[in-house]
Amino acid sequence: MNQAEVIAKLQTIFDTVFLEPVVLTPEVSAKDVPEWDSLTHISLMVAVEKAFGVRFRVGEVENAKNVGEFADLIIKRKSEA
């Protein structure tokens, strides 16, 4: 999977979790999405881990600055799976 494919799959997860539509690009970050608060973040990560079959290590998701870096992290963890 490349970054674009991962983001496309993330888009479907975001579409189900958020009430307002969000268009994901590599530059989008949590602060651009009003609904993406610490609460929805937890649930979002559970959904992402399940959908991609990955497990992130402690603290590393919050180090990802935007959707692009997050997608790269998914690719990295997926390559180990």
């Binding site: 189900t16 979790v17 009430l19 610490s38 937890i42 649930s43 559970v46 402690v58 603290g59 919050e62």
Partner: protein, 623 residues
């Protein structure tokens, strides 16, 4: 989980959205991500002002506080409570701020005026601070102090608000740490928390309801329940699976505050209390008792049911059976755990089960919503769901080994306190039942039969069916007018003899295929068609198969130039139920003796009887 239907219902502003949402949420295997997704759809529906049909209950004010982040646990609780029909208005405390929230009389907690408080004390405050080898008295004193401090918090909230307190106890570690020494000292986390949990439960006052975290974590597994990362990252109480289990438990406890436990367990008999069909297999033929694994399973089920009775649940029987045959195992079978004395209301007849349960309610002076009905047959469960929807139904699974677990997990008979009066109730209700008269009520049988979407296939005897035909001819006892037995060779002989007609009926409905369920053999004697054999499986009694068989018999007889049908009833020990069958079907009694009854039906005036079965093939017709 497929949410596309949910989505389109919401886009069409269809209130059926809510029914679907409830159904999807109720399924036990829903995981955290799925429930969270369903919750977000629920909120979308609210945002679009799509209201559920009917009135919604007034929300209960629920405060959640504790030593954990209460997000997103609160989201699951809010969702499950709304879906269950006990919506909550939530207030959440801050992370690990519960002690000051409770101690400070001016806190937001008290301004909120909760009716129910969920308190999750921090497990970090449930540890023995000293050494594993300290004197046991010291360790016990520390455990007692922990228990007292938690119960004291509960007492303060209750005194100030009058709220019911849902108090979480402490989970046990899931790791091997300390090994065999774990249980040798009260100073280990494992033993210390167990001790605290025991003391909490045994000493909690009546306004405290233990939310048994230890049990829940044990049920899903200690490792599955814990998630160190989610603690370090966001102070979660446990893994997503544990959050789901906790939220479901809290929701259940909230419902239990308002809802009384069920009072009556209505039991089917054949393949529910024993294996097999007593009227066909006989007292000796049913599977019950320690001589076979299946028999043991049924006996264990009866023992569990008996324990429900001992804690105050009333037992009733509702069976499609001849009364005397149904009662026989209760009176005579050595391995029956349940006896007639244990049953407050015993209905074995051929009326729809929904009717029978409806009659029990006034006889026992209880509302139908106090009844739980258990059966292994989906069609019986369905008729009760349709025509006595207030009754809670439990469809037993395919394996009797799991019957006990199914009842143990049904969550319908959880007592708040068991009293001596509860145990005495059985006697009182039994005599009430004997006094009250029965009353007929109005199940719309036609609409039930229509809803089954039945399809019948009628085939003349064919070589491929011979083993099954012979088997049924030799086994069928109850619905069997003549009980003429025939070997496979004899069935073949009938098939090939020109003066005989022979056909079978297969029936399907929306619950599945019943297979070959009725067999008829006719013999042409001049202008009369003599009915040598008419038998049917009792599973499909009163489904109008009888009527369709008569229609077919009349049709075939006319085609062969006959003017009348002649029927014969030969009584046996087991076919009492068809004694008056030919009269019911419109035949005239022409001769009667001790050993037989003869009947006739003139075909000139016979009109086919309309039924709800769609006959897709008839005998001796090209397929």
């Amino acid at each position: 989980m497929d949410v596309s239907e949910l989505k389109s219902l919401l886009l069409n502003s269809d209130p059926a959205f809510w029914t679907r949402l409830v159904a999807l949420t109720r399924e036990d295997e829903r995981d955290f991500a799925e429930l969270f997704l369903l919750s977000s759809w629920r909120k979308k529906a609210h945002a679009r002002k799509l209201a559920p049909a009917g009135k919604t209950a007034k929300p209960i004010r629920l405060a959640i506080l504790g030593g954990y982040s209460l997000y997103p646990l609160h989201e699951l609780i809010e969702h499950l409570c709304e879906v269950q029909g006990t919506p909550v208005e939530l207030w959440q405390g801050d992370f690990d701020n519960y002690i000051s929230e409770i101690m400070d009389e001016g806190s937001e907690l008290y301004a909120f005026a909760p009716q129910v408080v969920l308190l999750l004390p921090s497990e970090n405050r449930c540890k023995y601070p000293g050494q594993l080898t300290d004197a046991r008295e010291l360790q016990q004193a520390e455990a007692k102090a922990t228990v007292n401090s938690v119960l004291d918090l509960a007492r303060r909230v209750n005194e100030k608000t009058g709220a019911e307190i849902l108090l979480a106890n402490f989970r046990l570690p899931g790791r091997y740490d300390l090994g065999a020494f774990r249980s040798r000292s009260l100073g280990s986390e494992w033993t210390f928390r167990k001790w605290v949990n025991l003391e909490l439960g045994l000493n909690a006052p009546s306004y405290v309801h233990i939310c048994d975290w230890e049990f829940l974590a044990n049920r899903i597994g200690g490792i599955q329940a814990s998630d160190a990362r989610s603690w370090f990252e966001s102070k979660q109480p446990g893994s997503p699976a544990l959050l789901v289990a906790l939220a479901r438990e809290v929701t259940h406890l909230i419902a239990s505050l308002k809802r009384a436990p069920k009072k009556v367990l209505v039991l089917d008999l054949d393949n529910t209390l024993w294996g097999g069909v007593v009227a066909d297999d006989g007292l000796e033929g049913i599977e019950l008792g320690d001589t076979s694994p299946r028999g043991e399973a049924f006996k264990a089920f009866q023992k569990y049911i008996r324990s429900l009775k001992d804690r105050g649940v009333l037992l009733a029987v509702c069976s499609k059976n001849d009364h005397a045959k149904a009662a026989e195992p209760f009176e005579k079978h050595p391995d029956m755990v349940l006896r007639l004395d244990d049953i407050v209301n015993f209905k074995a007849n051929w009326e729809p089960k929904s009717e029978n349960i409806r009659r029990m309610a006034p006889e026992l002076n209880l509302g139908l919503d106090s009844f739980v009905f258990v059966d292994d047959n989906p069609a019986e469960i369905d008729i009760v769901r349709q025509f006595a929807p207030e009754v809670t139904t439990i469809l037993l699974g395919p394996d009797p080994a799991e019957y006990v677990a199914q009842l143990q997990d049904c969550r319908l008979f959880e007592p708040k306190n068991i009293t001596a009066e509860d145990a005495e109730r059985t006697n009182q209700y039994r005599s009430d039942a004997q006094r009250k008269a029965l009353e007929e009520s109005v199940t719309d049988m036609d609409s039930y039969l229509t809803s089954l979407v039945m399809e019948g296939v009628i085939n003349e005897f064919a070589a491929v069916d011979v083993p099954r035909l012979s088997q049924l001819i030799n086994k069928s006892n109850q619905f069997n007018l003549t009980t003429h037995r025939r070997s496979e060779a004899e069935v073949l002989a009938v098939m090939n003899a020109p003066e005989y007609i022979g056909f079978s009926v297969r029936l399907k409905d929306r619950f599945g295929d019943h297979g070959l369920i009725s067999i008829i053999i006719g013999q042409k004697r001049g202008d009369t068609m003599f009915i040598d054999t008419w038998l049917m499986s009792c599973r499909v009694l009163k489904r109008q198969v009888e009527e369709e068989v008569l229609n077919e018999l009349a049709r075939l007889a006319k085609l062969r130039g006959c003017h009348r049908l002649e029927g014969l009833y030969l009584p046996t020990a087991k076919n009492e139920m068809v004694r008056d069958f030919y009269s019911r079907m419109g035949f005239n009694l022409t001769a009667e003796s001790e050993t037989q009854r003869e009947y006739q039906l003139e075909l000139a005036t016979f009109q086919p009887i309309p039924t709800k079965i769609n006959i897709i093939r008839r005998a001796y017709e090209p397929s």
